[in-house]
């Protein structure tokens, strides 16, 4: 049986890679995908702890996180589509209408 630390380390690695993706990429769609990666890493942690404690509550929270990820992806991609229709760009540093 694999120890809980291994799962937590996997979650940590995926979380850090996701943070790097959000902070460094210019394309907003890839930033959204990195956010999905971060949520996924959190799910690994929750399910590992659920296994450790022998309680399914962690898995319930993972289900809620997957629900939130679906809602976030739908609304975020809708916003990206609307923005692309107005400005024809999906790059984060070209979205500077509020910058003076």
């Amino acid at each position: 049986m694999v120890s809980t630390e291994a799962y937590l380390l996997l979650g940590l690695a995926l979380f850090t890679i996701g943070v790097i993706g959000v902070l460094t990429r210019r394309n907003v769609i890839i930033m959204l995908m990195s956010i999905e990666l971060i949520l996924n890493a959190v799910n690994i942690n929750l399910i590992a702890f659920s296994r450790l404690w022998g309680d399914v509550s962690g898995q319930i929270f993972a289900i809620f996180i997957i629900t939130d990820a679906a809602a976030e992806a739908a609304v975020g991609l809708g916003i990206i589509l609307a923005f692309f229709r107005n400005r024809t760009t999906v790059l984060a540093d070209e979205m500077d209408m509020l910058k003076w």
Binding site: L10, M33, L52, Q59, A74, L77
Partner: protein
């Protein structure tokens, strides 16, 4: 060194390598494919953790639902222009440094608290009937959050339709 260790190693390496490739690849369609690989490897990790319901949910919802949405949006925004643009922004190295510091902090926290993870194994509580246990807890103890999540999904659906409509 039994079969679960080997499977965990395979899934973990697959997840981390394809996550790194997803963050660094230039072509956005390749990014989506690498993210799908990461999500499938994570589903395998869920299966190793005896969360069978979440294994199926991960594949159906993430890989079959959310990623299809992503690929559709990638097709709708123009691909050829974005291939020739610079993919990383100017603060890349600062961002990588900050993320590394964050990862190191989390690792130190994990290292300091590793003794709290030594619990007697109580796997038999969730092992045999995972979906039944999830259903009972979800519809008894977490009934109100479940309903709120359904309202959230409704709001997100309406929001996505309004956002993607041609004339508001």
């Amino acid at each position: 060194m039994d079969v679960t260790h080997i499977l965990f190693g395979v899934f973990a390496v697959m997840a981390v390598v394809s996550a790194i490739l997803m963050v660094t690849t230039r072509n956005i369609v390749h990014c989506a494919v690498f993210l799908i690989t990461t999500l499938l490897a994570t589903a395998g990790v869920f299966l190793l953790l005896q969360a069978e319901f979440l294994f199926v949910t991960q594949i159906i919802l993430y890989v079959g639902g959310i990623m299809v949405l992503f690929v559709f949006v990638i097709m709708l925004v123009n691909l050829d222009v974005s291939l020739r643009q610079v993919q990383f922004n100017r603060q890349t190295w600062v961002a990588v440094l900050l993320a590394a510091v964050l990862g190191a902090q989390l690792f130190i926290a994990l290292w300091l608290g590793r003794n709290a993870l030594r619990l007697p194994a109580r796997a038999e509580l969730i092992a045999p009937k995972n979906t039944e246990a999830i259903g009972q807890v979800l519809f008894q103890r977490y009934m109100l959050p479940f309903e709120i999540a359904s309202i959230l999904l409704l709001v997100a659906m309406i929001g996505a339709v309004v956002m993607a409509k041609r004339r508001v």
